[in-house]
């Protein structure tokens, strides 16, 4: 297992370097002179030139990249042009809000997705199965920003059950208030992933249920409930883990949109503001951090997969 883990971590390094290079190159293509953007249109040519030298913009591009990545390694993502603050500070202020929303949605999606999938599989072709699978297809197709808006309209504006936006009511703090604000955005975000996880669990369960060891268990008189939850589910969940990992990417994408709908103070909103203000160090920093988060989550999922499925270990060592 250790060899497998080390191998996977080593494979991650070139990907992370590639991701950082791509982010850097894209931002280099952004039109406009960064020195001019920072100093304003009235700065003299000499001042601009001096500032460019200070920022290292006169250096060849590969050297600029090395300087930048060196700073990133030290936790310095540059300064935001709009907020006039270090990008790292801005990200740290908002990282918690993003993590709370994505983790809450992931838990919702996994728990309800697996339950729905198991019920569907154990009652294959029943009315419940058909309804759940149709609902999951509908959930899969819901545009997340529209569904968020719909939930906001029904449960907040019309019924007044939940707050419409933000992470806390003005002047209120504490986890209960945050949890209350979390309900609608996390449901809106979870539905798509929940649908995919439900479908994956169902097909994986159906495959496992047909295997010989399940038949043996039945022949020995083990109850169907016991077989479903103790024998079949444990093995059926192995491929589901991979889907959960890939859904994290969709969650991060959906989150960028939902943070705008629910005025959720996370990284997505920060990034969108960065683009609208043409604040490229901010965009560069947030994109890099979110992409790195995604890559690392995928690594964790891969390692989990290796832990859960012993066959993987043997193949690779």
């Amino acid at each position: 297992m250790l060899r497998y883990a080390v191998k996977r971590v080593l494979q991650l390094i070139p990907i992370l370097i590639g991701v950082s290079m791509l982010v850097f190159l894209i931002m280099q293509l952004t039109p406009g002179d960064p020195a001019k953007l920072i100093l304003g249109p009235r700065a003299s040519q000499a001042t601009l030139e001096a500032y460019r030298r200070e920022l290292g913009l006169h250096l060849p591009i590969w050297q600029q990249y090395l300087n930048w990545i060196g700073n990133v390694m030290r936790g310095d993502l540059g300064n935001s042009l709009h907020f006039k603050k270090p990008v790292t500070d801005l990200i740290m202020e908002r990282l918690a809000a993003t993590l709370i929303l994505s983790i809450a949605s992931m838990i919702l999606a996994t728990v309800f997705g697996v339950i729905t999938g198991v019920i569907s599989a154990t009652k294959q072709y029943s009315l419940a199965d058909r309804i759940m699978m149709t609902l999951s297809l509908i959930g899969f197709c819901l545009p997340v920003f529209w569904f968020g808006l719909l939930l906001q309209f029904i449960f907040s504006i019309r019924l007044g059950w939940f707050p419409a936006s933000g992470i806390n009511a003005p002047g209120v703090s504490g986890w209960q208030d945050t949890a209350w604000h979390l309900v609608l955005p996390s449901i809106a975000l979870a539905v798509g992933a929940m649908a995919t996880i439900a479908r994956m669990t169902r097909s994986s369960m159906l495959e496992v249920i047909r295997q010989d060891y399940i038949r043996t268990a039945r022949a020995k008189g083990v109850s169907w409930r016991n077989i479903s939850y103790n024998h079949a589910l444990r093995n059926a969940l192995i491929p589901v883990v991979t889907v959960v990992g890939s859904q994290f990417g969709y969650l991060l994408s959906g989150q960028i949109l939902l943070e705008v709908v629910f005025n959720w103070p996370g990284l997505g909103q920060l990034m969108v503001n960065g683009i609208l203000y043409r604040d490229f160090p901010l965009v560069q920093g947030t994109v890099l951090i979110v992409a790195a988060m995604y890559v690392v989550v995928n690594l964790i999922v891969d390692l989990l997969y290796g832990l859960l499925d012993p066959r993987i270990k043997y193949e690779d060592s």
């Binding site: 590639g18 894209i26 931002m27 545009p143 529209w146 965009v283």
Partner: protein, 312 residues
């Protein structure tokens, strides 16, 4: 005479009685029906797929005929008639914050959304298929390098990559389309590359190589047709995602710019009026949802029709 359902109808030929062959050779009859005709017949049996196809044809038809069908021009403002409710005489689906007819804007918006969805998929498809074909066929360093590039693109959550590209290109509808097309390329390249890697080892390709056929001929004449069916299903499903992604970008202010009648932008602009006039933002979203749902049902139907073995 309809043929019984079997995986490969050609298997029927040897067990036909000799008497039957004297009248018409069933093998000939079978020969005249291509894979696509068979698939189309199977598709017609899938009710959900047929209904979805009808909905999509209607949406596309209405979008094409927008100048004739739409009661008003998309940007025709009437400030004395702002935020009129659904069912207002002369404005079937009401008016928006600038007094523009919502129905007309939805019809015109369909044009943009469908064009963006199809355009982005077509661009992603062409580049993705070409990259996949060459990487899979030539293998070696070309493949390793391509695969590394694809892995990097796929290491980004999809909308994040689109957002980064738009940062460089600047917000706008065309740039949004380019961005989402680039995001789509790795998926097609991956599918095609995988298929080509196994196809190039098969006898019919090896025979062509032995016969001295040019690489271009082998790739485009022999390999390409064999990788198309999984790609067609992926592309159908993808048009829906591209529409969602494009409208998502417009919703964020990075795609279509005001006053364009685009579903995502309409939703975003109407969001401010959700308390008093929810239909202004909810209706465009409903359109996106219906189109994506229909595309998914059709995509599922197509997959089953093209490869009935999968439908278990």
């Amino acid at each position: 005479m309809p043929l019984p359902e079997v995986d490969n109808p050609r298997h029927l030929a040897p067990i036909q009685s000799p008497d039957a062959v004297t009248y018409t050779d069933p093998a000939d009859e079978i020969e005249s029906r291509s894979l696509w005709q068979d698939a189309f017949k199977r598709l017609l049996r899938d009710k959900l797929a047929v209904i979805s196809a009808i909905i999509l044809i209607a949406v596309i038809g209405v979008a094409i005929l927008a100048p004739v069908i739409a009661p008003y021009a998309p940007n025709e403002m009437d400030l004395s008639n702002r935020l009129q409710p659904i069912g207002t005489p002369g404005h079937l689906l009401g008016t928006d914050q600038a007094g523009r007819d919502i129905l007309s804007r939805l019809i015109w918006g369909g044009r943009i959304s469908v064009a963006i969805g199809v355009g982005a998929v077509a661009a992603a498809l062409v580049f993705g298929v070409l990259i996949g074909l060459f990487a899979g066929f030539y293998k070696g360093p070309i493949d390793t390098l391509t695969n590394f590039g694809l892995n990097i693109l796929m290491a980004f959550p999809y909308i994040l990559l689109a957002i980064s590209i738009i940062t460089a290109l600047g917000p706008g509808l065309t740039n949004a389309m380019i961005a989402i097309a680039i995001v789509g390329i790795p998926y097609y390249a991956r599918i095609v590359r995988g298929s080509v890697l196994s196809l190039r080892e098969q006898e019919f390709v090896q025979a062509e190589i032995a016969l001295g056929a040019s690489n271009a001929r082998i790739i485009f004449k022999h390999i390409l047709p064999n990788v198309l069916s999984p790609i067609i299903v992926a592309a159908t499903l993808d048009v829906g995602w591209m529409i969602v992604m494009a409208s998502g970008l417009s919703f964020l202010g990075l795609g279509a710019q005001p006053p364009t009648a685009e579903w995502g932008l309409m939703l975003s602009e109407g969001q401010k009026y959700i308390r008093n006039a929810p239909y202004v933002s909810l209706l465009p979203g409903l359109m996106i949802f219906i189109v994506v749902l229909a595309l998914n049902f059709l995509g599922d139907g197509l997959r089953d029709a093209l490869d009935p073995k999968l439908k278990q």
